[in-house]
């Protein structure tokens, strides 16, 4: 942590702080005190402020939705560095969704943490692609009627190595997932969705405190295998949690190196 930047700019009670806690605990448990081999890349939004400037590591705070292309560039230029992308649903799952799917398709060697707060929090609580049906937002005053995207199921259907969803209330599972993605599954595309409803624009409109939301999330979070149909998770108000996928296929960097070798073995024409 960059202690001189504290206290954070987040709203009182914001769940982003819990994610910072999960990240720092993960590094503590992994015995990593110096994060010089880690690069954090984020886009635009509240959750994009988690690494920049609070975490003491190289961090790139980029354009709206473009965290993954920048992270891909960093990873290909410096494959020795571990690149972590942190972004929100309004960033990675909307304007940046195309980049997200293609990075997952390539099994790009990145850890992507998507903080799903259900709305565009920084701009005033507008409806986002993950807003559950019925939720009152700034742009849907009578409740959202659009079907939300099941981002984990989407990413799990690609070539990604690791996909998991937790709520911010399942702290230990979340922390262990991040730890696994940085130790046990160190290659390929690793994706963790964290359900952390915006305290200001979701909880406050529902007349609930941050503490009440945490209690509710604990009840709403149901293991994925216990949910027959994932698509219904938001409609019924239940949240499917757990690990959707955990593989250890070679990632893009390894495939790329193999490909370069193929070129080296050919005779050059020039």
């Amino acid at each position: 942590m960059r202690e001189e930047t504290l206290p954070t700019d987040f709203c009182p009670g914001c769940f982003n702080g819990i994610l910072i806690n999960a990240l720092t605990k993960t590094f503590f448990e992994l015995g990593i005190a110096d994060l010089r081999n880690y690069v954090f890349v984020s886009g635009i939004g509240c959750s994009s402020w988690i690494p920049s400037p609070y975490i003491k590591a190289d961090s790139l705070h980029t354009l709206h939705g473009r965290a993954i292309p920048v992270a891909t560039g960093v990873k290909l230029a410096r494959p020795d560095l571990e690149v972590i992308v942190i972004g929100g649903d309004g960033d990675l799952a909307s304007i940046g969704l195309g980049h997200l799917i293609h990075a997952a398709r390539r099994n790009m060697d990145l850890l992507v943490i998507l903080v799903n707060n259900y709305v565009y929090g920084m701009t005033g609580g507008q409806m986002s692609p993950t807003t559950p049906i019925g939720l009152v937002t700034t742009t849907t005053p009578y409740g959202s009627f659009e079907l939300p995207i099941n981002i984990c199921k989407l990413i799990a259907s690609t070539n990604a190595n690791y996909v998991a969803r937790w709520t911010i209330a399942h702290f230990i599972n979340l922390k262990n997932s991040i730890k696994d993605a940085l130790s046990k599954y160190r290659r390929g595309f690793r994706f963790i969705e964290v359900v952390a409803p915006c305290v200001t624009y979701v909880a406050r409109r529902l007349g609930k405190s941050a503490g009440n939301i945490i209690k509710e999330l604990l009840k709403l979070g149901i293991k994925i295998k216990d949910l027959n149909d994932l698509d219904k998770y938001s409609r019924e108000g239940k949240i499917g949690i757990g690990i959707l996928k955990a593989e250890d296929k070679p990632g893009y960097v390894e495939l790329y190196r193999e490909y370069v070798k193929r070129g080296d073995s050919c005779e050059r024409t020039t």
């Binding site: 110096d34 994060l35 690069v39 400037p53 190289d58 961090s59 705070h61 980029t62 354009l63 560095l81």
Partner: protein, 305 residues
Amino acid sequence: MTATSGPGFSLMQEGIGYAVMTETPLVIVNVMRVGPATGQATKPAQGDLMQSRWGRHGDQVIPVLAPESPQEAFELTVKAFAIAEELRVPVILLSDEIIAHMREVIELPNYESIKIPDRRKPMSIDETPFGSKDPRIAPPMPSLGEGYYVLVTGSTHNEWGYRDTRSFETHYKLLKRLWNKVWLNINRIFEYEAYHVDDADVGFVAFGSTARSVKMAVKILKEKGVKAGFVRLKTLWPLDLKPIRNLCGVCKVVIVPELSLGQLVLDVERANEGNAKVIRYGKIGGGELIYPRELVKIALEEVKS
């Protein structure tokens, strides 16, 4: 380095603005085609001049270079890289379809003789990655993964990279430095070619492929006994108005041919102190270029009247 044409260049504007703010060395080649929107693909135009200068939101200045031949495309690409690395700034190489599809013999220098300045890294952890005492010198650029813990952000930031989205002072200081970094180095960036500008009656100002027609037109006019000269801009931004101002001071008529409805002519009108009559000659679309005979005709009409 990246290369594009028309619509792709429009899509890149946000990223170029980010490169300005984060002081990222970058070379962008834009081969101008007919626009706006999809326009006419693979047909030449010069309508992206103002977009190259001002296409992003917010205040900024970035160098724009324009080659007139394949040989110069090579030379200016080397220069673009040198400026980009030295000043930590995106540089645009503004070509057009005629130059890009042209085949000419070019002479390449020895690879070893091409000098691109090394990217300067901080000497110590105390050197600021986004601030320098001398406004003409770009701050050193730390690498990732070397323990600098560099903060890169497109938001307004102080000399250490810490975001500051509130204070007037931080933003003014940052933007003024980014502005001065390029404008105070105008002598390093600005280049032009002038021909018979001291005693000309008819003058031309042009860049890129149009300048080739101008050269031919000037040659024909000389043969016909008309005193003609031209200024060809190799650097379009930042722009030194002096050579154009001098030309306008000497000539009775200054003709500005361009493959647009008039963009470079605005600079010529700005530089003209009332002495010369500035004539805009724009042609757009259909793959039509400006022929020397058209320019000769306009020049002869103007000289007679």
